[in-house]
Symmetry: C2
Subunit: 102 residues, 2 copies
């Protein structure tokens, strides 16, 4: 999110983000329908981060992979100190092929 995306989010109460791949501000959900309506925006002590509480429309999912949350993997460390990412696929609620490839 850049300054323009934040301003649009505050005024429209719909979450906007900066797309690094497309190099433009976009309305989250404009393709998928999973628009985020903002209930609350909070900022931290040194004002370089925000947390938003949102209601999600459409399929109630926020991740482009079809999951409710982007944070669908946890970091696990075995006894030898080796890292793995453990998937939690239960949260997948739509198939990205159906939504983004039309």
């Amino acid at each position: 999110m850049n300054a323009e995306a934040l301003a649009k989010t505050i005024h429209s109460k719909k979450a906007h983000y900066w797309s690094r791949s497309r190099k433009k501000v976009w309305l989250k959900g404009e393709t998928s329908g999973n628009v985020q309506t903002v209930r609350e925006i909070r900022t931290d002590c040194d004002q370089d981060a925000i947390v938003m509480k949102v209601d999600v429309a459409g399929k109630d999912a926020s991740c482009h992979t079809g999951r409710v949350s982007c944070f669908y993997r946890s970091i696990e460390v075995d006894e030898a100190g080796k890292y793995t990412l453990e998937f939690d696929d239960r949260e997948r609620v739509f198939d990205p092929e159906d939504v983004y490839r039309k």
Copy 2:
């Protein structure tokens, strides 16, 4: 958090961060006692962000201002479109003067 801070966090299960002001990795809580013990680390779909679930020791607060959370202000917009930050001071659980000025 930089790569060194993340590695120390994963191995020690105590949250470490990069201090931009001190230009070094630090153990969160080394002065205040409010050490964060990591229960879970999750990463997002494109692996440029993490969320950690932690148990907080000491006074059970994570903000240097003495509040439980750094996100103690919400962004409010009036009908004229003017922004204000609304404080929620109920969460202040310690006086920073007592903790950091000893």
